[in-house]
Symmetry: C2
Subunit: 209 residues, 2 copies
Amino acid sequence: MPAEAKVDIGARSATPPLTERQEARRRRILHASAQLASRGGFDAVQMREVAESSQVALGTLYRYFPSKVHLLVATMQDQLQHMHGTLRKKPPAGETASERVAETLMRAFRALQREPHLADAMVRALTFADRSVSPEVDQVSRQTTAIILDAMGLTDPTPAQLSAVRVIEHTWHSALITWLSGRASIAQVKIDIETVCRLIDLTEPDGKP
Amino acid sequence: MPAEAKVDIGARSATPPLTERQEARRRRILHASAQLASRGGFDAVQMREVAESSQVALGTLYRYFPSKVHLLVATMQDQLQHMHGTLRKKPPAGETASERVAETLMRAFRALQREPHLADAMVRALTFADRSVSPEVDQVSRQTTAIILDAMGLTDPTPAQLSAVRVIEHTWHSALITWLSGRASIAQVKIDIETVCRLIDLTEPDGKP
DNA sequence: CGCTAATCTAGAACAAGTTTCAGACTTGAT
DNA sequence: ATCAAGTCTGAAACTTGTTCTAGATTAGCG
């Protein structure tokens, strides 16, 4: 019944496995998306151009990614994966958990500053996403949570710590938006991140057993 | 040189004052915008429909609000003003500043729950806004800050307190988005708000003179 | 009152996201 | 090797935000 030979790389979860050629198409599309985004940001990622750049018909592009927002959120997933790998290599050196988280987020922030247009496209897509993109956005959120917990050095966090992490993520996203739309300086974002990271300290009132 | 008699109601700031008829048009437009938004949210606010509902030509609509996002952010300003007035009447009763802020935000949240589609339209517009809408978005931000400071009962906050308020605003916006896109429950939003509000307590280490 | 500049209207036109469709191509199974 | 089902392509069509234009109205001034 299906077409193209199936090759389960074990990468994605519940989605039907993709052919090699399909995997290649998907990769070309994501690459074109990131490339166009790196230029003009959200607006520069035009579906017709993405299709052309990745040598795929417009209809096919929409089969792979049912909307522009889906495409950009997937692009973000992709970039986040790289980022997580990079961050893992050089763990933050701070004394306390809150310092390490702040350091990690600032490192990520610096990476985004190198490609501000790409950051714009991804973050705008993320916050503009409606319910139809929830699963994908959730995936991004989980990935972000993992990065933060990594920086904290936790394997099984308490509910209070998870709450703090949630709030940190909120602040992270919103601060990025204010920066991208020119309403907050880099310095201001830094302060906001450092401020919210203090919440972590509240989850460890003092020494533990 | 100009047309229509000028009548400075003293409302807006630097913009040239509007005629009565112009003020009326503006009001009709904002009303139509809120009405349409209350139905289907962001997508239901279609510029042609807004123009028709408010008995104004499409070109005129664009003269008053240069884009859909501008229109919706202005709609939010309008709603926020009502909200602030309403909140002022019944000040929160909590003991500590953080309790009062959390209570106020939850009250606002409940108001938004009554018109979830309207909330969707306004919040999505707010976070999707690009640089061209910065002044208007900033205005909304200032209004929100004022509401929070009101709840804290402060007239001149310290830098540390302002930082906390900024982070609270970040969390507020982002938590709203996760709720609107169905990725967080009402209970979860409550927890996030209460969590972030604890930051306020950090700005008052202990009793003061 | 009558003039002039600005504003408003109606409607066409344009741009980019999304949908649709017929036909060519692939794939896995027989 | 052949076939049925699913996939891809190319192109047109549709939707909605945004821009443009020509002519009708309106406001303030002399």
